[in-house]
Structures are given as structure tokens and as C-alpha cells.
């Protein structure tokens, strides 16, 4: 794909015959074997492969769960318990699917923050980045609908609260919510359509992932130096075996974390309340979404106006799509941007704190002076929300104009030499020149 020529050479007559009609082996070879990878990628670049693994894992465990699950308000909770108790390895499928969602989001957040730090959204990778934002949105919708399916208390009340967001839309809001529900409240029709869409959306994600990878292989990967490939022989290595073995190693390490939760701590990332069957007459004392939605939930709650809160929440995600044009710096990598680096970590901290604010009761005190509450969780969330938006709308545009970046390396190969003093990125022993 892209700029480099295909190096695939069909060996047998059959391979030549197939290649002349459907060059699928050539496609695989060019994108997973000979595809040139910048040689200085660090382990943060393995998360794309890890995400692919998680998507496949979620689809497979999901298809298996559907064989035993019943999408009906009277049977959903029971059928999940049936999976946990009676189905062969049912507990494994369900815990792998439930924890898999969290692992998927951990990986995607690392992937996104890697892109933010190294400027992977900048030209010529704007579309690649926007496709990523689309995948992220689809993931959130899929995860939300999936969480409704066990029909526990958090499922029901999460669905009620989130669908009610749309009632904030002027004039047509109430009609839209009724349409989403298929009734006058979250009920069986809602569960059925969420189930249908929860099954559909992963395949939409898969489709956009194909575009995302296509765009990636067309423009080539960014790298920690942010300098584009100039000399393929010096700056890149072939995907196989170099990236393949590195990705596999990273995947197995990631699977260890995954397995730790699935086998030894399967309910840590969930809510106890979701083991209580849904009850439309009783709301749990404290409703919180799954951890991966908390920063956005924090933004939603920070805005005192209903419509304003909803708009702020959606804007906080939509803003990411405009990032390639909001960041005015000519330098891609944060490694060569001393001021950006600081703001990046502040921003990351703000996101974590937004998540914390989203998880806490609104009236909880954050700062008390002389027995008086100076700052409660709402006020705290507001400060963080303002900073979140300021980071994209004020700091990044201005930083590019005023910041003085460090001297960029002349090439990827040079950056490797500079950073390690050796001929290759990690664990080198040989001297670079003979």
C-alpha cells in the first residue's frame, strides 16, 4: 500500500493464479509483512494491535454469549445467571466480555493519549485521527448498550439517565426520547433494540477500523521523533518480523492484566448494584456510569443547565475531531516541545480528576476552609471542565505560536542514534559505525 512498491512474489502456480484474480495474499503481504515500520517506535505503538485483539475478543465472546442470552425484561437477568452457573465455561465468556470492555477502553485511552503526545493527528494524518474519533464514539455507544443487557439496577437506571439526555433538545426532545424507548419508559422494547444495536455496532466498528488501518498504511506511521520517514532503508524496518514479534509480546503482557481481572478480580470494574435485578420503582442511592465514561459524565454534571450539560459533553468529544487544526505547532512530537509537554501532563491529570469528579456525589466537599465548604464537587468539576475546553481552544492554538521547540533530529535514524547512542532503539550493544 501507499508509497512503497509491492514486494510480494508468488512462488507457486496456484499463488500466481490467485494473485492475478484476487491479490489478497499480496495485500496481506504488503500490509503485514513488508510494510515499512519506523524503527524507533516505542511500546505505546503496540496498542493498535492490542486494540485489534480486544475487538476480536469482544466479538467472539459476544457471539458466544448471544447463544445463551435472552433479551427480554423477564428473562435477561436470569439468563445471565444461567450463563454464569450452567453453561459450559459460561462464567469465563461473560467475565471475559464484561472485563474485556474495560480492557478495550484502557487500551484505547492509552492509544489516544499516545496520539495526543506525539502529535499523531497532524498532517497528513488528519483523516486517520478523525476515523479514530468515530471508532471511539461507536465504542462508547456499543459499551453503553451492552451494559444495559444484563438488566440489573445500573443497567436500567444508566439507560434511563442517558436516554433522558436527549430530552434536553428543545421542542422535539421528549418525542425523541419516547422514540428511543419505544414506550413511555425504558422497558422491553428498549432492551430489544439495544440488544440488536449492540450486536450490530461492533461490525460497524470493524468497518471503520479497516478504513483507519487503510489510512494508516497509506500515510505511514508517526513515530516518537515526529519526523517523517526519509530513507526507507535507514529509517524503517519491515513489519514482519520486527513489529510482529514486538506486538505479540505486548499483547501477551496485556493479556496477563486482562486475565488477572477475569480470573481473580472479575467484579472489580463493575458495580455491585448491577447484581440487583432492574426495578423501575427504585433508584440506587448513587448512580455512576462505568469508569470509562466518568470524565464525560463529570463534564455533563459540571454544567448547571440541562441542555448546556448535554451539549458540553458531546462537544468535549466532538472537539477531538478538530484537533488537527486547533494545534498550530509545526512540530509533531511532544518530545521536542518543552512547554507542550507540561500542558499535556496537566491535561491528562485534568481528565483523571474529571473522572474522579464524575464518580463522586455532587454535594461532596473538595475544599473546606475553617469549617466552611469553599469548593464542592460541582464547582471542582466546573474548574476542570473549563480547563478541558481551554486546553483545546486556547492553550494548543497559542502554544504553537509562542513555543520554541527543541532542535528536531534530521531523520529517524539520527534520532535513534541520539537517544541511545546505538544503532537501534532498545538494548543495543553494537556500535553504530564500523
Amino acid at each position: 500500500m501507499g508509497e512503497h512498491h509491492s514486494t510480494y512474489v508468488p512462488k507457486t502456480g496456484i499463488e500466481r493464479w490467485v494473485d492475478a484474480r484476487l491479490p489478497i495474499v499480496r495485500l496481506m503481504h504488503d500490509s503485514a509483512v513488508s510494510y515499512p515500520v519506523p524503527r524507533n517506535l516505542n511500546y505505546f505503538w503496540t496498542f493498535g494491535g492490542i486494540l485489534m485483539l480486544m475487538l476480536v475478543s469482544q466479538i467472539i465472546t459476544g457471539i458466544v454469549l448471544v447463544m445463551h442470552y435472552t433479551p427480554h425484561v423477564d428473562h435477561a437477568f436470569q439468563s445471565v445467571e444461567h450463563i454464569m452457573r450452567d453453561v459450559n465455561y459460561g462464567w469465563l465468556m461473560r467475565y471475559a466480555h464484561a472485563n474485556g470492555a474495560s480492557m478495550f477502553f484502557i487500551a484505547v485511552y492509552i492509544h489516544i493519549f499516545r496520539g495526543l503526545y506525539y502529535g499523531s493527528y497532524k498532517a497528513p494524518r488528519e483523516l486517520l485521527w478523525i476515523l479514530g474519533v468515530v471508532i471511539f464514539l461507536l465504542m462508547m455507544a456499543t459499551a453503553f448498550m451492552g451494559y444495559v443487557l444484563p438488566w440489573g439496577q445500573m443497567s436500567f437506571w444508566g439507560a434511563t439517565v442517558i436516554t433522558n439526555l436527549f430530552s434536553a433538545i428543545p421542542v422535539v426532545g421528549e418525542s425523541i426520547v419516547t422514540w428511543l424507548w419505544g414506550g413511555y419508559s425504558v422497558d422491553n422494547p428498549t432492551l430489544n433494540r439495544f440488544f440488536s444495536l449492540h450486536y450490530l455496532m461492533p461490525f460497524m466498528i470493524l468497518g471503520v477500523v479497516v478504513l483507519h488501518v487503510w489510512a494508516l498504511h497509506h500515510v505511514g506511521q508517526n513515530n516518537p521523533s515526529g519526523v517523517e520517514v526519509k530513507n526507507y532503508a535507514k529509517d524503517t524496518v519491515p513489519f514482519t518480523p520486527y513489529a510482529t514479534v514486538k506486538d505479540l509480546f505486548a499483547m501477551v503482557c496485556f493479556l496477563m492484566v486482562f486475565a488477572w481481572f477475569v480470573f481473580f478480580h472479575p467484579n472489580f470494574l463493575g458495580h455491585a448494584d448491577n447484581y440487583i435485578p432492574a426495578d423501575p420503582l427504585k433508584t440506587p442511592a448513587h448512580i455512576v456510569p462505568e469508569w470509562y465514561f466518568l470524565p464525560f459524565y463529570g463534564i455533563l454534571r459540571a454544567v448547571p443547565d440541562k441542555l448546556g450539560g448535554v451539549l458540553a459533553m458531546f462537544a468535549s468529544i466532538a472537539l477531538l475531531a478538530f484537533l488537527p487544526w486547533l494545534d498550530t505547532s509545526k512540530v509533531k512530537s511532544g518530545a521536542y516541545r518543552p512547554a507542550f509537554k507540561i500542558f499535556f501532563w496537566v491535561f491528562a491529570l485534568v481528565c483523571v480528576l474529571l473522572g474522579y469528579a464524575g464518580s463522586q456525589p455532587t454535594d461532596k466537599a473538595v475544599l473546606t476552609l475553617g469549617g466552611r465548604v469553599v469548593l464542592d464537587m460541582v464547582g471542582f468539576g466546573q474548574i476542570l471542565t473549563i480547563y478541558y475546553f481551554a486546553h483545546f481552544l486556547v492553550i494548543l492554538p497559542l502554544l504553537g505560536l509562542f513555543e520554541k521547540p527543541l532542535q528536531l533530529p534530521a531523520s529517524i535514524a539520527d534520532s535513534v542514534l541520539a537517544s541511545t547512542g546505538h544503532g537501534h532503539p532498545a538494548g543495543a550493544h553494537a556500535s553504530p559505525e564500523k
Partner: protein, 294 residues
């Protein structure tokens, strides 16, 4: 590698900061339950079969009149990883229960003795009947109660829980609740039909102290031979036994899960080790690279 480690630290905090377990009891007004020791703690923890059998006796004689166990089948009681009653015992036990079956040829539903494949019958036919019999409060089903109850751990404890494997919020809370009945402190008025409990959120619980079925007001056992295996009969012991039984009822595949997990972990470590060596060897081919012709 400093960026890597900082990034990872941030990711770990971001990933975990959030999973504040236990909104279930966020209402406040209940003391944090004291921590108990459990045989099922940790990656190698298993259920104590004798304890599960004792706990089942407590459930059956004390709780079952009001609290169902509708997701559990009689056969589960003889399955591996559980109380391990014999199949004969389970068959006899099931036959003591009546379940609804039918319709028969006359089109009528009829009661028959339960079989091991049946699930525990519900104590009340529906929620309304349960309400009517219990002062307006529905006694919750006990099938997954040990996973459905929790309390807030607070920062940074819940992050450390990932490593220390603490996940017994439910069992600790249930045990605490059972031994938490006491006289209300001065100035606290407890309305009719409610009872003061130190660990219940809000302190006022509709359920009367259930252990009066086992211990009289003076704390003496009603029946000194309640435990035929000679286990000392104390409130804490009875509370812990029934709690352990409820934990098993909520997670009957726990032992299978942990056993599988140990094997999986072992294999992943092996695979990671091999892949690491392979990766190092493959990448070492690049040592001489820059010296090559352009």
C-alpha cells in the same frame, strides 16, 4: 523509558481511579464493616466445604422463610466447588420441598416434591405477597446477594485492592450486618417496624435480628447442638458461615475460575518469556544496520 513509566502510572491511575466500588451503600450512615478472614480470599482461596454445609443449615433454618434462592438449583449443592453434599442427600433434601408443576391432563397446576434439577422454590409467589407479609418491605432474593452488596473503600485503598485481591466487600458487609444489631444510641429514635443496626446504611433496617432464631436474648444458643460437627456456636461464627454459603451461591464457579486462572497465568508468563527472547534476538539483527549502504 521515563515517559513510558510516567505514562503507565497515569494510565493505571486513570483506569482505576474510577472504579469506585460500592455505590450500593454510598448513602452513608452505616459504619464500615470490619474485615473478616475468609477461606476463599486470594488467587488460591477455596470454599471451606464444612463451613458451606453449616451455612446452608443456617440459611435453611433462619433465612429461607423470607429470602429466596431462586437462581440456585438443588443439584448445585452436590456439584464440585460447593458444599459437596452427596447426590443422595440432595435428592432427599429436594424432596422435602414442594414445587409447582403442570398443567396435568385436567389442565390444572399441581404441586410435587422437588427434584435435584429444580431450583429452590420462592418463599412468596410474587413481590406483592412478599410486601404484604413483611411490613411493606420485600426481602431480597439471596442468589447473588453476596455480589450485590458492597461498601465504599475510598482512595487509595481501592487501587491497592487490585493487587491485594481484596474483593470481599459483600461478605464482610453481610457478616457485619448480622452481628450489627444493637440498642440505638441515646437520642436516636427508631420508628416502629424498624431496627437499629450499626452497619446498615442509615442505621434503620426493616429486618428484625434474624439470629434470634439461634440465640436467645441473653446470647445463649437455643439449641446447643445446632452445629452437629461441634463447631463453637457464636454469633460471629453463625454469621460467617451463612455468609460463606451466600458467597458460594453467588459465585458457584469460583474454584473452577481460580484454578483455570492459575493455569492461564502460568502459560501467559511462559509465552511472554519466549516472545521476549525472540523479540530481543530479532531486533539484535539491527545492531549493524546504520553501517549498511543506503
Amino acid at each position: 523509558m521515563t515517559i513510558v513509566s510516567r505514562f503507565l502510572a497515569a494510565a493505571i491511575v486513570a483506569g482505576s481511579s474510577v472504579a469506585l466500588a460500592a455505590p450500593a451503600l454510598a448513602a452513608g450512615g452505616g459504619e464500615k464493616p470490619p474485615r473478616q478472614s475468609w477461606s476463599f480470599y486470594g488467587p488460591f482461596g477455596t470454599f471451606d466445604k464444612a463451613q458451606l454445609q453449616r451455612g446452608f443449615k443456617v440459611y435453611r433454618e433462619v433465612c429461607a422463610a423470607c429470602h429466596g434462592l431462586e437462581k440456585v438449583s438443588f443439584r448445585n449443592l452436590s456439584e464440585p466447588g460447593g458444599p459437596s453434599f452427596t447426590e443422595g442427600q440432595v435428592k432427599m433434601l429436594a424432596a422435602e420441598y414442594k414445587v409447582m408443576d403442570g398443567p396435568n391432563e385436567q389442565g390444572e397446576m399441581f404441586e410435587r416434591p422437588a427434584r435435584p434439577s429444580d431450583r429452590f422454590p420462592k418463599p412468596f409467589p410474587n413481590a406483592e405477597a412478599a410486601k404484604a407479609a413483611n411490613n411493606g418491605a420485600v426481602p431480597p432474593d439471596f442468589s447473588v446477594i453476596a455480589k450485590a452488596r458492597s461498601y465504599e473503600r475510598g482512595f487509595p485503598t481501592y487501587v491497592l485492592d487490585i493487587l491485594t485481591q481484596y474483593q470481599q466487600q459483600g461478605p464482610d458487609y453481610i457478616t457485619a450486618l448480622l452481628i450489627g444489631y444493637e440498642e440505638p444510641p441515646a437520642g436516636v429514635k427508631v420508628e416502629d417496624g424498624l431496627h437499629y443496626n450499626r452497619y446498615f446504611p442509615g442505621n434503620k433496617i426493616a429486618m428484625a435480628n434474624p439470629l434470634v432464631a439461634v440465640f436467645d436474648d441473653a446470647g445463649k444458643p437455643q439449641d446447643p447442638n445446632f452445629y452437629p460437627d461441634g463447631t463453637p456456636l457464636t454469633r460471629l461464627q453463625v454469621a460467617k458461615d451463612v455468609t460463606a454459603f451466600l458467597m458460594w451461591a453467588a459465585e458457584p464457579k469460583m474454584e473452577e475460575r481460580k484454578r483455570t486462572g492459575v493455569k492461564v497465568m502460568f502459560w501467559l508468563i511462559l509465552l511472554a518469556g519466549l516472545l521476549f527472547m525472540l523479540k530481543k534476538r530479532i531486533w539484535s539483527r539491527l545492531d549493524d544496520m546504520p553501517a549498511k549502504a543506503h
